[in-house]
Amino acid sequence: MSLELTLCTKNAHPPLSKGYVAAFKMGCRQTLHDRVDFVSTTMIYLVLLYIFSTIFRHMPLHELNVAGLRPENMIWYLAMTECIMLGSPGGYTFGAHIIAQGRLSEFLTRPNSLSIFILCWLWGRTITLSLLLFLLSLVIVPLLYQAPLPIELWKISFVVMTIVLSCVILQLIGFIASMVEIFGPFSTQVGWMMSKMTFVLGGLYFPVIFFPLHIQHFAFLTPFPSVLNAVGVHMLPVTDVTILCGFLMQILWLAILLTALYIANKWMIRYVMKTGV
């Protein structure tokens, strides 16, 4: 039998974007196929919302009101931020696994960019899961936790947009941070610290406007509010300007992180090619 078959490529350098799109789709498909994972993640989501809905409902109303908040806003805020956090399980370690398993070399012998390829796959996975959880929240939060959706329906498209941006930013932070794995098995520890920073400075349970002023200022100097607060803020009684500011912050951080990724990626490849990690 002959395997002579001239193949391949229509031109010498086919568009690389096809590979990235395929990686993204692969990620989406994996999330959709992993039903056990989705069910058990939903279980965490339900438990969390139950626990915190009781907490929020038992906070003194007048103290919440100082920030103009009602328990329903808080419940929806948490429902949004947890979409992001639960949508990225092990968000800070996926990239590190690839490094730790010595798979970098495999990706290096491909025609496309190693980091963008892995990130596209991660984005596919996490955006799909986050959006699934968001869809779920639209049904279960009003039903189970008696908190009607505090925004008009047409604004949901904006929420979806910020969720996508949040996932993109979170994975970017995670991927850049996980590059420390090259120097040794530290990425788990770095991942812990990063995720706790995201919780605290991003405002996982409570919006950043709830924080003391000096912490607010500090928080907004980091990318973390763009991951969580920017999504949750849609559900708070704030002006459109505040929401727009959050969105612009996301765009700004996206640009900064993409630049950082470009530099870190270049540096990482040079390092790997020199030392053969």
């Binding site: 039998m1 002959s2 395997l3 002579e4 078959l5 001239t6 193949l7 391949c8 490529t9 229509k10 086919p14 568009p15 690389l16 096809k18 590979g19 799109v21 395929a22 990686a23 692969m26 498909r29 994996q30 196929h33 992993d34 398993q101 010595g102 798979r103 070399s105 495999e106 290096l108 012998t109 491909r110 025609p111 496309n112 390829f117 790997v272 090619m273 020199k274 030392t275 053969g276």
Partner: protein, 331 residues
């Protein structure tokens, strides 16, 4: 000339801890030369075995040739590219298989990984389907490409890995220990497939393996390196001729450990003796001592049940060469 390497050298810096102080550890910096001044070239269609003991520098060289590692000095071209500079352009022309690593997505069906790779290399989908069918036929994996990778056996997975590396029709295929951990039948099958592929498709194979049967079956040329230096570069035939001057006589005896039955006066010149259970192995250099003499001598000393005379196996040759290399008498 599809691959040419000139004076390729790779040195790594190493850190040796001097003090165990927690806060102020001090290190002594040293260097370690993994590959030292290697030169050779490979013609298109060659099937080269790249062998040497663990830590000899095989993988380092393979990594430099596939563009993953930048050498400290020296020059190389692979398929017309300098690998570590034109890494991404070279990617379209080479395939890589690591026996101990997987490029398939563990929790997904094999076919999904293939589809993904076809997009990565920007293959024309119709041609890709045709090629996939051909490869499935050659490697007999048609039945398993819809299964999840996690459910495949090691042998099945390895075949799927190799097919994954061949989807974009590379001119050169690097295989790093492709048969490691496989059982005898699967190994034999895999070798047949690889040989078939290389011969019919003109793919240049570069293979590292510790299993000499892989080399004998698939390759037509051997490059042997040790301590980062090239010891031997010749065709398998040449190597045999040079080192197979010697013959191996195997005697099966009634006595256990027959070596100790032999008298001290047994001729020493030109013979190397080993024994195992009820077998006596004699490596004989016929130029020094006649085979018939050795056999008749042995027959008179021991109760021989069976005699066989043959070539010294490749494994013994390689062991012998390593030994020479160690004693600094490689040439």
């Amino acid at each position: 000339m599809i691959i040419s390497i000139n004076n390729l050298t790779k040195t790594f810096t190493t850190k040796k801890p001097l003090s165990k102080k927690f806060l102020l550890p001090r290190y002594e910096k040293g260097t370690f030369t993994a590959v030292n001044d290697i030169s050779f070239s490979i013609q298109a269609g060659d099937r080269v075995a790249f062998i040497g003991p663990n830590g000899a520098g095989k993988s380092t060289t393979l990594k430099m040739l596939s563009g993953i590692l930048t050498p400290t000095s020296g020059h190389a071209t692979v398929a017309g590219f300098i690998p570590w500079i034109d890494r991404k352009k070279l990617a379209y022309h080479i395939g890589l298989v690591f026996g101990q690593r997987s490029q398939l997505w563990y929790h997904s069906p094999v076919i999904q990984s293939y589809d993904l790779l076809s997009k990565v290399y920007g293959l024309d989908q119709k041609a890709y389907r045709q090629r996939l069918n051909l490869l499935c036929e050659t490697f007999k994996i048609g039945g398993m490409i819809n299964q999840k990778v996690s459910t495949l056996s090691l042998g099945q997975r390895m075949k799927c890995e190799i097919v994954a590396s061949l989807l974009h029709n590379p001119k050169i295929l690097f295989l790093d220990e492709p048969t490691i951990g496989l059982d005898v039948t699967t190994k034999a099958e895999l070798r047949d497939h690889l040989l078939d592929l290389a011969v019919s498709n003109g793919v240049t194979l570069i293979l590292t393996s510790h299993d000499t049967a892989d080399i004998e079956k698939i390759c037509n040329r051997v490059v042997l390196i040790n301590h980062g230096e090239k010891l031997i570069d010749q065709s398998l035939e040449e190597m045999r001729r040079q080192y197979l001057r010697k013959k191996m006589i195997v005697l099966t005896t009634e006595e256990e450990n027959p070596r100790y039955v032999l008298p001290v006066s047994w001729p020493q010149e030109g013979i190397h003796i080993r024994s195992e259970h009820y077998k006596l192995f004699l490596d004989v250099d016929p130029k020094i001592i006649a085979l018939s003499d050795v056999i008749s001598n042995a027959l008179s000393q021991t109760n021989v049940l069976d005699v066989s005379v043959g070539d010294v196996p490749l494994e013994e040759i390689i062991k012998h060469i390593y030994h020479l290399g160690k004693n600094g008498a490689a040439s």
